[in-house]
Symmetry: C2
Subunit: 288 residues, 2 copies
């Protein structure tokens, strides 16, 4: 890799192309306990050491952007199963967004089912799922009403960055006065709040016209689970009966598996898997 860097650098010496650093940043979303949550890491390096941030890192010269996004995801968060869905979100390149140098960051949106707490790695001192309503200045939904801060969100890093990880020991309550404040109670590093907000809005919009909500569910899921995904992402409550009629009536959206769940009370629900449809037409509509 040092070789590739030198080769490319030689081109810059001869040419007139201003050099940029290119990074990927990841907005990884999931639904946990009825809340839309984002994966945040705690920075283990300067700048913004200790601050919450989106996972991400530098793109290698010989690496496609999509590949870099997947690599950073597994490197920094240790998620065993890679998320079902990964798509490019937008690119952020304001001049002063990184104090070190000129950085252009390509943001990606990833949607994952409810996975076990992530393991930090790479430049991340810790990684945790944080309800987005704790981080965003609340964008006109009622989601923040249902979300309470929860203790012990962070899970200490296992391998390297042990020094930085010391500041992230689990606490019995919220420890806002330590040097490792709970995520969402400190502003995100860089321009990551805006990136996160854009990612959340993208996810909310795509649930309307694509079957993407299933990316938040396991391979087999019930209509009720799917509805709770919509309710969490949109921050609304939906009529369970109309929702059921809509999703089961949309051709290609849901394929019946033929089995049913064992319930903890209430009638068992049919299991479905995602169908071949790529568009929901007519779309699901967010309530006004």
């Amino acid at each position: 890799m040092a070789h590739a860097t030198e080769t490319a650098a030689a081109g810059y010496v001869a040419g007139h192309f201003p050099p940029f650093a290119v990074t990927v940043d990841l907005v990884v979303l999931t639904v946990r306990e009825g809340d839309l949550c984002a994966l945040l890491i705690q920075r283990g390096e300067q700048p913004h050491l200790g601050r919450s941030a989106l996972p991400g890192g530098f793109v290698r010269v010989d690496e496609d952007l999509d590949v870099a996004a997947r690599r950073e995801l597994s490197e920094e968060t240790g998620l065993a199963r890679l998320p079902v869905h990964l798509e490019q979100l937008a690119t952020y390149g304001a001049v002063g967004r990184d104090p070190r140098m000129r950085v252009v960051s390509v943001a990606y949106l990833a949607l994952a089912p409810d996975l076990p707490p992530p393991q930090a790695g790479g430049d991340a001192a810790a990684a945790a799922w944080v309800p987005v309503c704790q981080v965003l200045p609340e964008s006109s939904t009622a989601a923040n009403l249902s979300a309470q801060p929860r203790p012990g969100q962070y899970r200490s890093v296992s391998s390297r960055s042990a020094q930085a990880a010391q500041s992230v020991q689990p606490t019995s309550g919220l420890a806002e006065s330590t040097d490792a404040p709970a995520p969402g109670h400190t502003p995100l590093a860089f321009d990551h709040v805006g990136i996160l907000a854009d990612g959340v809005e993208r996810a909310r919009a795509k649930l309307e016209y694509s079957p993407l909500a299933a990316a938040f569910c396991p391979a087999e899921f019930t209509v009720g689970e799917l509805r709770r995904v919509y309710e969490a992402v949109w921050g609304v409550t939906l009529d369970a009966r109309n929702f059921h009629r809509k999703v089961t009536g949309t051709a290609g959206f849901l394929l019946p598996v033929g089995r049913a769940t064992v319930r903890q009370g209430g009638r068992p629900a049919q299991l479905f898997q995602l169908g071949p449809a790529t568009l929901i037409n007519p779309p699901m509509l967010r309530p006004a």
Copy 2:
């Protein structure tokens, strides 16, 4: 600017951040004579000298991405009035997309009313509006049925790149055998076909739920003009009466000016200007 470049380059020498070149590419669309057209330039430099391409160029180290997009637009195409609408489209960074070096290109989508033929400048030998159906492998619309190739689309460059411009003299017909083939009859440079396709699809989609079609119209326009924009972009024909009822019935979409056009035959039409609405709800729907 040489100073800024040197400063940034010094940072790279010390650090471990692989240097990239960052460019902006522009998908500039307009509607002319019933066709959706894209602004293409003819490259005046290597690589792909003489090939058709999207306008664009390198981002400066001290320049925001949006600013670079606007600068390239006026530099390379000489459009006097800048387009009403400019938004980021997507970023393209495959490893081999530029033979010279690793380049990440941030694409922008611009929508313009029907302007006079553009004047080339900068690295562009020529610039012209080209119907997209002549360039794209036709994406499931009937637009290509109505579009015929037209001669003399290019307008010779006035200032520099005179040598390259010689190959772009207007022809009485299609001159496919010259060294300057008509745009759209030669494959676009780099990965620009894909970028153009993405831009066209974005524009088509946004007409559904945003009042963006007005960006293709002058400041004051009639319902008929707006309908012809929709028909050209979507490549369909719409029922004029239902369209009229829909757009005039959508709150905040159209503001009546109070005056009417003088017609060349037929009843005069009321003039409107774009209203404050930012979303069309319920959306306009493309016919199946």
